[in-house]
Structures are given as C-alpha cells and as structure tokens.
Symmetry: C2
Subunit: 120 residues, 2 copies
Amino acid sequence: MSADPLSATFAALADPTRRAILARLALGEASVSELSAPFDISAPAVTKHLKVLERAGLISRGRQAQWRPCKLEAKALEDVSGWIDQYRQLWEQRLDRLEDYLKILQAQEKKPARKRAEKK
Amino acid sequence: MSADPLSATFAALADPTRRAILARLALGEASVSELSAPFDISAPAVTKHLKVLERAGLISRGRQAQWRPCKLEAKALEDVSGWIDQYRQLWEQRLDRLEDYLKILQAQEKKPARKRAEKK
C-alpha cells in the first residue's frame, strides 16, 4: 500500500466488502460480530478489512478489550470528496454540452412546424 | 484487481502518479511522451499506468497508431462522486456540531458581559 494518505484511502475503498462495511457504519457504531453477520465471511476476515479501513483513517475503534465498537470517520471521506471536486466542472461541462445539443435538436424540430403554420 | 467497476476505479486512483496523470489530462489531451516528461519515470512505466487508468474507464486513447492521445473520461469520476455523495451529510453533520459548539461558547462569553452592563 502506498504511503500517502489519499492513496491509502482509495486503496481501502477499492473493495466491495469494505464499502459495504462503511455503509453499515454510516447508520451507527457496530461490533465485529455485528459487522460480519450480513456478510458470508468469517470474523477474522472482517477484522482484516477493518484493519485496512482503520489504517486509511476511514474508521476508528473503541478501546474496550472485548467490545471494540467500530465508528466511521467522516474526515477521510471528506478528503476524497475534496479531491474529486476539482474535477467536478469536467462532468458539468459534459452535461452543459448535452444540454446545448438538446437545444439545437429542439430548435430544429420547431423550424418545420413553423413552416407548416405559415402555409395555412 | 476487483471485477466491479467502482473497485477498479478506486484501485486506479490509489496511486499518486496516476492521479498526477489525470490532473495533467484535465487540462487537455496528451501523448505518452508528453505525459512522461514531468515524471521521473520511463515511457513504458507511464504506459503501464495508462493501461490501469484505461481499464478503469478513467481515460480513453485515440486510435492513431503512433500518436495515440490520452483523454480524461469524466464519467468514471462522476460515479465516484455519486458514491461519496451518500456520505456527504456525515461530515456536514460534523460541521454543524462544531458550529453548535461555537455558538454555545459565544453565548457563554456574552453572559458575563451583560452582567457587567447591568451593574452600571
């Protein structure tokens, strides 16, 4: 795994089970056994995923020895959102171009209609 | 690399050189030699990164044999943005809580000031 925090976050997000764990934690804190229940994987496998998420700063874990609740940490996701926002205008421009094209199509549709109206 | 498109995109983004390539392509199309110039890596290494980005749908490449310009594809980044948006309220709530706390601190500061005013 790369050393920079953003690369670690992206690498942690590149797995559907880890993203599903985050989706569950968005609803509230949960223990390892609560997290492994909906998945077809063992508690040790979930623990492995949690370690990746924790190293990436996406979750934190409570300090009680037995019940160590996992908590989603919004900061790392906010950093990803900040990174992606610099590209936002790229797809907004793409939508603008589609909109412009649609207006041209609509204008072309109106023209023959007007001609027919003039003939009456 | 995982099979699902979102995992492939996140895995492709988990590398600082690949993110720098995307930042360059956000300014416009570029060839492999133009892309390798600012980095301390060889053209074959850049080509390897481009293949990862292309498989993830983050870039496309022109069809001319020699000059195959690379182009950023906004759609894949838009999908990442859509995924992250479902968590937006989590860090917005975090900001709201900080704001509430600030208001409490400000209200506590105002109280003694009013008492001093009443004494006059």
